[in-house]
């Protein structure tokens, strides 16, 4: 139930957006997020985008992994 899936935003038609979810196009609501743009990645849960996933932070976690493993 609490599963949220990352999806790429293709088009905005506020409060909706078309996203690519595992290859399939889907209409989801994005009105609980601040300034979503095409190209952004969002986490989708039951038809609602609940958070943006940032590329930078994906890299950040890799850095964290490296750091912890090096210690």
């Amino acid at each position: 139930m609490c599963l949220a899936i990352p999806a790429k935003v293709l088009e905005i038609d506020y409060p909706f957006a078309t996203v690519s979810l595992g290859g399939a196009k889907r209409k989801v609501r994005v009105d609980l997020l601040e300034d979503v743009k095409p190209g952004d990645y969002v986490l989708v849960h039951v038809g609602l985008a609940i958070q943006k996933v940032s590329e930078e932070e994906v890299r950040e976690i890799e850095r964290l992994w490296e750091e912890l493993l090096r210690e």
């Binding site: 139930m1 609490c2 949220a4 009105d31 038809g47 958070q51 912890l68 493993l69």
Partner: protein, 353 residues
């Protein structure tokens, strides 16, 4: 990222050497899925015990809520909408699918917005049986704000943070893996009040690397007595969470004392529709229908250990019915129904100890 898993496992082995036993509890069914799917329990040393907590929203809904929905279906000609998982939960051998087979209008929806669409295109009253933690609540809240006159919400939503508040004092658990997607909404900030229990917590993502790294972070924190609150899932969880989602959730829902399977009554854990939204509250609108409602006990569940499993006190294999009388095809308890239920997950991937 090749070899990352092996490297983290190696570190976990080193870190865990000095402990006799460490008990780590995760609080999200999706974490149990990752743990069982990738056999994480067998990858890590035996003295690091991974327990499953009450992190499955379908599982923790008490029978009373389900019976109430059945009662409503029996008395009123409504279109009942809910998620697929919930529709399969049995009470005395009957589920919402059973009612559908008997001719009741029960519809499975992917989201509350689909239920809203059904209401907009129908003259009948549409009831959405709403379940889920803070991850799911914002969607229901958004729908409540746009509800047409014939749309009602039966809220079985539960706030997860109060459950942690109930769980943490006097617990034998040494460290917690906090639910990742609940945290995308509530944020790191929501757990700050829980640091008073001095048990380290880490918000974790759902890849096997995330879970393993979280275990490693916890082991270090348990050893040092700090930090008490860590965020491993930085790519999706911000300090403040999703502020807009929290706002709409707080506007639409009030917190009341609510009952949980296995955990009993937890203060301020049930999300009921607030005054302003009471026009779409199914329990208020159909008040008369519920007047003669009396909860019963399901005799089939007498030997079901779901309640103990949700507290981390038992594993599915401790249940005599597991994969005998109780299977995913013919489940007895909710833990065998939901894709986030520990019994269902263990049935899917085989024994996971």
């Amino acid at each position: 990222m090749g070899g990352v898993v092996e490297r983290i496992v190696e570190k976990i082995r080193e870190e865990s050497k000095e402990f006799e036993e460490v008990k780590i509890m995760h609080l999200c069914g999706t974490h149990e899925d990752t743990i069982s799917k990738y056999n994480i329990r067998s990858l890590i040393p035996e003295n690091v015990k991974l327990l499953a907590g009450p992190g499955c929203p379908v599982c923790i809904i008490p029978d009373e809520d389900l019976q109430k929905v059945f009662h409503l279906l029996e008395k009123e000609d409504v279109i009942l909408t809910t998620f697929g998982d919930m529709a399969r939960v049995p009470f005395e051998g009957k589920s919402l699918f059973h009612y559908r087979a008997k001719g009741k209008d029960v519809r499975i929806v992917y989201s509350v917005f689909d239920a809203l669409e059904i209401a907009k295109n129908s003259d009948k009253n549409v009831v959405f049986f709403a379940i889920g933690f803070e991850t799911t609540m914002p969607s229901t809240a958004v729908a409540a704000k746009e509800a047409p006159e014939n749309f009602f919400i039966f809220s079985a939503h539960r706030f997860f943070i109060p459950a942690m508040e109930a769980l943490m004092p006097n617990s034998e658990i040494d460290g917690y893996i906090n639910p990742g997607h609940v945290s995308t909404i509530v944020g790191v900030v929501a757990y700050e009040g829980l640091t008073k229990y001095k048990t380290p917590m880490v918000i974790s993502g759902f890849e096997p690397e995330d879970v393993l790294l979280s275990i490693l972070m916890l082991l270090k924190a348990i050893k040092n007595g700090s930090p008490l609150l860590m965020n491993e899932y930085v790519r999706a969880v911000r300090y403040e969470g999703n502020v807009k989602a929290k706002e709409v959730m707080n506007e639409v829902f009030d917190a009341e004392d609510g009952s949980w399977r296995g955990l009993g009554i937890i203060p301020n854990s049930k999300a009921s529709l607030s005054r302003v939204y009471e026009n779409c509250d199914a329990e208020k609108f159909f008040e008369d229908v519920f007047e003669d409602f009396v909860p019963k006990e399901d005799k089939r569940k007498r030997n079901c250990l779901c309640g103990e499993i949700l507290k981390g006190k038992a594993f599915p294999t401790d249940c005599k019915l597991f994969m005998k009388a109780c299977t995913p095809r013919d489940p007895i308890g909710s833990c065998m129904v939901s894709f986030e239920g520990t019994c269902n997950i263990w049935a899917k991937y085989g024994k996971s100890l």
